[in-house]
């Protein structure tokens, strides 16, 4: 039975992604530092309690998790503070969780995936990577994560490992509630459907990339933004 490691699985897109993989028959390792709003339970579900700001500990963590067929780098954080008043600690946290941790997870999983000549990685970017964002470091790390997706696909692609990304537009999650109203209004003006994305819809796209999309599709970013940014 294939096994998926999903970060930020405690809520939002990560939780729905965990639900989608469970529904498709996978075993799911749900990683988060906070499971207070996590209401999934299944015999094939394991919780991994870990704070991804602890980047240095990721290699040891992964060593204890066994075989992982698919990694979903979903965990992300933002604050939306004024550009000229961003606390150093928040910048550090965003860089660690949104960028350094996903890279460390890919590096830690690469040896076992290369040995098996198989494996899939799905990075959760954001339309913010293209448009800029009220949280400067959030936008910057999401753009960097999409770049990293290409680099790692080139690094691992010859060994049959797929590294792709999704770039959702604003999605109805707890993180969405943190956005300034002006950004929510801007999104509603630009999307074709007049509504935000649901976390279930992003999860459907992640499940496909993480389990069934064809191998020739590698290093790509799947836009799930409904016209918010037709790149």
């Amino acid at each position: 039975m294939p096994r998926a490691l999903i970060t930020g699985a405690g809520r939002g897109i990560g939780k729905e992604t965990a639900r989608a993989f469970l529904g498709a028959g996978w075993t799911v390792l749900a990683l988060d530092k906070d499971f207070s709003s996590f209401d999934l339970s299944d015999a094939r579900l394991e919780r991994v309690d870990y704070d991804l700001t602890q980047v240095a500990g990721i290699a040891a963590l992964v060593a204890g998790l066994g075989e992982i067929d698919t990694l979903v780098n979903n965990a992300g954080t933002l604050y939306c503070e004024p550009y000229d008043a961003i606390p150093e600690a928040h910048k550090r946290e965003i860089l660690a969780v949104n960028l350094e941790a996903p890279v460390a997870l890919m590096q830690a999983l690469a040896p076992q995936m290369r040995k098996r000549k198989a494996g899939r990685i799905v990075n959760v970017g954001s339309v913010a990577a293209f448009t800029g964002h009220p949280d400067l470091w959030y936008g910057a790390t999401k753009a960097a994560l999409l770049n990293t997706t290409k680099s790692c696909a080139g690094w691992l692609g010859r060994d049959g490992i797929l590294v792709n990304a999704v770039a959702p537009g604003p999605t109805l999650t707890p993180m969405y509630e943190q956005l300034p109203q002006s950004r929510k209004d801007g999104v509603m003006r630009s999307v074709y459907s007049g509504r935000a994305c649901t976390p279930q819809e992003v999860a459907q796209a992640i499940l496909w990339l993480g389990s069934a999309s064809p191998e020739y599709m590698n290093g790509m970013t799947l836009d799930v933004n409904n016209g918010a940014y037709p790149r």
């Binding site: 290409k150 696909a153 080139g154 692609g157 010859r158 537009g169 074709y192 459907s193 007049g194 509504r195 994305c197 649901t198 279930q200 819809e201 992003v202 459907q204 796209a205 496909w208 069934a212 999309s213 064809p214 191998e215 020739y216 599709m217 590698n218 290093g219 790509m220 970013t221 799947l222 836009d223 799930v224 933004n225 409904n226 016209g227 037709p230 790149r231």
Partner: protein
């Protein structure tokens, strides 16, 4: 209302279109397979597969053609031609043919097929009104030795967005797929050797993609992709072009 979904696939006789027919049929679709000719194609008409011979350079006849086909839930604009000519060698006929088959025909097909999709939306606002998938190419994004091929493929990206904006509010999805080098007659016969070599150099796996791989992406967009996914262009290039 029939119990099965119907897909119209253009350029269905061979190559990527042929593989799309198989992928959609395996997903339960009934297929209307359209092509200029079915010579050498192994497609055989059946209760779930209709073969339609039509020359897509005849733009004026498309409305009547579509009216004769009945219900269409999914439109796959796959037909395309690549004259493979350098700009100074282009004849007016070759240029007009590329513009007609690659650009004008899919626009006219979307315009006419979407009318019945919009009627379905008005009758059942919460139901699935229809899905459209357009085949473009990495040629849309890069310099191309076949100038008019590149122009028409870039045009497909543009009208994918235009129709997604126009039809998306009524629940119709219009997306596109942009393949890199795929193992088809078009790549093997039409594409200039130097271009082919240049593309293959950048591909991580050092192989061409298969029509079946392309067909799976098209099938996903036509059947499974979440409704919010609209106006997107999915690159299937294995590194040969990273947007």
């Amino acid at each position: 209302m029939p119990g099965h979904r119907v897909a119209l696939v253009t350029g269905a006789a061979r190559g990527i279109g042929r593989a799309i027919v198989d992928a959609l049929a395996a997903d339960g679709f009934h297929i209307v397979a359209l092509d200029l000719d079915f010579e050498g194609s192994d497609l055989v008409e059946s209760g779930s597969l209709a073969l339609v011979r039509y020359d897509l350079t005849d733009i004026a006849g498309i409305a009547a053609l579509v009216a004769s086909l009945g219900r269409i839930d999914v439109l796959i604009n796959n037909a395309g031609v690549q004259p493979g000519l350098a700009i100074d060698d282009y004849t007016e006929a070759a240029r007009e043919r590329a513009l007609a088959v690659n650009l004008k025909a899919p626009v006219e097909l979307i315009r006419t097929v979407s009318q019945q999709m919009l009627e379905r939306h008005r009758a059942h606002p919460s139901g699935a009104a229809g899905r459209i998938v357009n085949l473009t190419s990495v040629a849309a994004f890069m310099a191309h030795t076949d100038l008019w091929y590149g122009v028409t493929k870039a045009g497909i990206v543009s009208f994918t967005r235009s129709f997604a904006a126009r039809l998306g509010p009524q629940g119709i999805q219009v997306n596109a797929v942009a393949p890199g080098p795929i193992d088809t007659d078009m790549l093997n016969k039409a594409a200039q050797p130097e271009r082919r070599a240049e593309l293959m150099q950048r591909v991580w796996s050092h192989r061409t993609g298969t029509p079946q791989e392309l067909a799976e992406v098209v099938r996903w967009l036509a059947a499974d992709a979440p409704v919010i996914l609209n106006g997107a262009v999915i690159d299937v290039t294995d590194g040969c072009f990273l947007r």
